[in-house]
Symmetry: C2
Subunit: 234 residues, 2 copies
């Protein structure tokens, strides 16, 4: 009765973080986002997630099929993308305009994204030349919510001999980012899989002429574009 007719502009910080998490989960897994997955991503008890799910559904931002998962409504997707745009523009601005190291922009953006106005975010984007991706290679949605996700594949999924360009790395863990930077695994870097040990063993890579060995768990957080995929268009 009172559903779906709410201010909509004034989402709480926590609500915005839930929508972002649900958006991400919907993207990677094909289907709706599971309560447990949301809980894990946000480091919150599953029961608390159920509570927030109810509120978001009442506001018409998600649809909830009990015991089955949640999906964003068009309105919820728009809200998620607005927050994601803010997050990524802020990350980019901090790195480009203020010299922030790339392993620390994420935590700062995680809070600022809920406080910065659309106008501020637009001014930031303009000041640094409307970048297409954030410092970790993630695409920045446009003001209208449109995003062009490049076709990418996890570095972990490549076989020996494959050559690829790093498109994007997971940005949640600062220590991991520092380590990847040490290895030269940055967006735009060319990597070649020299060898792949069996039984989920480490990958030997050639990066910038140097040989590097990384475990599959780490390689799962590195997304790459392969020449074939680029040409075929995924």
């Amino acid at each position: 009765m009172s559903a779906a007719r709410h201010p909509a502009d004034s989402l709480s910080g926590p609500a915005e973080d839930y929508l972002k998490a649900i958006y991400d989960l919907e993207q990677t897994r094909g289907a709706g986002a599971a309560t447990n997955d949301i809980a894990q991503r946000l480091d919150i008890a599953a029961a608390s997630v159920s509570g927030m799910i109810r509120r978001l559904a009442e506001h018409g931002l998600i649809e909830h099929e009990p015991y089955r998962g949640v999906r964003l409504t068009p309105q919820g997707r728009m809200a998620a993308l607005r927050t994601i745009r803010r997050h990524r523009v802020i990350e980019s601005y901090l790195a480009t305009a203020l010299g922030y190291p790339w392993d620390r922009v994420h935590d700062e953006a995680e809070l600022l994204e809920h406080a910065a106005s659309d106008e501020l975010v637009d001014r930031m984007a303009a000041a640094i030349g409307e970048p297409a991706t954030d410092p970790h290679g993630a695409p920045i949605p446009a003001r209208d919510g449109s995003v062009t996700e490049r076709p990418v594949i996890a570095l972990e999924a490549l076989g020996a001999g494959a050559v690829a360009v790093v498109a994007r790395v997971g940005d949640e863990d600062a220590a991991r980012l520092r380590y990847l930077a040490e290895l030269g695994i940055l967006p735009g870097a060319r990597v070649e899989v020299v060898n792949r040990a069996p039984f989920d063993g480490p990958l030997t890579l050639r990066v910038d002429g140097d040989e590097r060995t990384i475990g599959p768990a780490l390689a799962a957080h590195v997304l790459v574009a392969t020449p074939e995929r680029s040409l075929l268009g995924g």
Copy 2:
């Protein structure tokens, strides 16, 4: 028993706004801040202020004498000044680095001040050359909490013939800021009181060679430094 031994770094946004308000009230009024004044400044019911006062006192940030008012403890003053520094650095950065109009920096800073880290604020300050005052002329506290408040007097308090330099204007009301800018009443502007109508009447000023008339209510929000005061040192 559990008083005064708390994280202290993690103050809520509302708590920081209360501390700022109490700091301001302590400065202008000489004595402790009254519940009603805090309520009016924050646009919150007086009863709600009593509740927050209890919490802030439990955290050792203020001292409360019931029915008499509150005062900041040294710890509370430090927390207030840290938030004020953030607010004013952010205002300055928005105006200088991002071309924000001076009538809109305040509202944006009012939210960002609770989300920006000290490191971000320091980087902003460095990027614009460590300004001494914000766009409205208010002094920016240093990292260690030290502030040098210039001796100022309300323009409203000047008599006919007085000459002064605008030091600072109230920044809470955007429309008022736009009007003052229209009149040329900006920090640094030289104003001369040409005439003063009796019975709380309007002041006629000369600003930039132009004659301007403003009411005493508006003049109360313009703080000026007079030559004598500057020389005598207040």
